[in-house]
């Protein structure tokens, strides 16, 4: 999908890496079965994480971090020392945790145009493939885009933390607590008060958490996500939220205000959700 022509041009580089991902997957003694799903994913990383990733075997094999293959990665940082040549553009990406050399092959005018926009000292989002060449870790970039919405910068680092936490938990065999616990939180609250439970009573949800507001956030957002009907632009009425989740109106309004305040930009919205998953306010 990501322009196989580019990988043909770099036959010495990514052709080998791309194909070796499958055999190395089977040779791995990692216990997690759905690993093949993780192998081809795009992992947000910091340069520091790349420098610490272990490499299974020789140069042609993949980098591994937290049991996840680091094939395709994405980074956000400042571009420096941009050197334009006929066939490729080299630059150094500094994301505040370290510097890594990046190479972008330019075969078509689209590639040249994309790289022309990149200036030294500019924040860019890079998507690329990790390679090791003569013991040196480098990035073969297949997409370099200037950052225009600067919420992307804290978002990327929070994304790295989130991804690290998620894959670390999977590696340790602990089932990820948040999604399953929230879904199990949802059903009891919705099914239980079929009787005459007044909406202002707290016991229905207070027993599930010490920090009541945190789980209320998750309940509301999950309800919204499950019941969102894209064809109906009116959305869900707060009365319905209050009725279905058995939460007092003022609590719902405060949560919605907080979420909508954070949702000024799309990245900020993702950030809020990420923070909730991380379990911090």
């Amino acid at each position: 999908m990501f322009s196989s022509s580019q990988f043909d041009a770099t036959a010495g580089f990514s052709g080998g890496g791309f194909m070796s991902s499958q055999p190395s997957n089977f040779n791995d003694s990692s216990p997690a079965p759905p690993k093949s799903r993780e192998t081809q994913g795009l992992v947000p990383v910091t340069v520091k994480q790349i420098s610490e990733a272990s490499q299974t075997g020789d140069e042609k094999s993949n980098f591994v971090i937290n049991g996840v293959d680091l094939n395709n990665v994405t980074l956000v940082g400042m571009a420096f020392e941009k050197v334009e040549r006929n066939t490729d553009v080299n630059f150094v990406l500094d994301d505040g945790t370290g510097r890594i050399k990046c190479r972008r092959w330019v075969n078509e005018t689209f590639d040249t145009k994309e790289m022309e926009e990149v200036m030294n000292g500019m924040y860019v989002r890079v998507f690329g493939h990790l390679k090791s060449f003569q013991g040196v870790r480098q990035l073969v970039a297949f997409s370099v885009r200037p950052v225009t919405n600067f919420e992307e910068i804290p978002f990327h680092f929070i994304d790295c933390i989130h991804n690290h936490l998620r894959s670390k938990l999977k590696l340790e065999g602990i089932t990820s607590t948040n999604p399953s616990s929230v879904s199990s939180l949802n059903t009891p609250v919705k099914n239980a008060p079929n009787g005459s439970q007044p909406p202002t009573s707290t016991p229905a949800y207070a027993q599930y958490s010490v920090d009541g507001l945190k789980d209320c956030d998750k309940l509301i957002i999950d309800y919204l996500q499950q019941h969102s009907d894209m064809s109906d632009e009116r959305g869900i009425h707060v009365n319905e939220l209050s009725r279905e989740l058995k939460l007092p109106m003022d609590r719902i309004m405060s949560v919605l205000l907080y979420v909508s305040f954070s949702l000024r930009k799309s990245f900020a919205g993702d950030v809020t959700q990420l923070f909730m998953l991380l379990g911090c306010r």
Binding site: K48, R99, G135, V136, I158
Partner: protein, 145 residues
């Protein structure tokens, strides 16, 4: 060309800093393959800080986002993401009340000597950045430093 990489972020004021950095380089070249510090260099990170965290990193390279309140000659007074006042040196004229990311050396517990700066515009989620600073220096320090 390679030397510029090493001295780019060193303040040319105190020779002892340069000497320390040279020793670090010699040590690295003995352990790692000769090209490693050219391509993958994690020796000079910039720590995510807010006003509360700066005192832990005096003399070190830090990065933070501030909102500039006023200018006084060469020095700008700015509000940090945790609502404290910071002094930023070496910042050119930027629109007041814009959010600026500053990367530089922390001179004291409330001032930064700016090396690089980026204008983030007039909207920015300070709350998220603040929490990122706490995470990046707390539980998830290993991903950054």
């Amino acid at each position: 060309m390679e030397t510029s990489l090493f001295f780019q972020n060193i303040q040319p004021l105190f020779p002892c800093k340069q000497i320390k950095h040279l020793f670090k380089l010699c040590f690295q070249s003995l352990i790692f393959p000769p090209f490693s510090f050219q391509a993958m260099d994690t020796s000079n990170p910039a720590v995510f800080v807010n006003a509360q965290l700066i005192p832990n990193f005096i003399g070190k390279r830090v990065r933070t986002v501030v909102q500039v309140n006023q200018y006084g000659g060469e020095v700008a007074t700015a509000k940090s993401t945790d609502d404290s006042q910071l002094t930023i040196k070496g910042l050119p004229q930027v629109p007041i009340m814009n959010f600026i990311e500053v990367i530089g050396i922390a001179e004291s517990s409330n001032s930064i000597d700016a090396e690089l700066w980026t204008d983030f515009g007039n909207t920015f989620d300070t709350n998220s950045f603040n929490q990122l600073c706490q995470l990046a220096n707390g539980e998830f320090k290993g991903l950054f430093l």
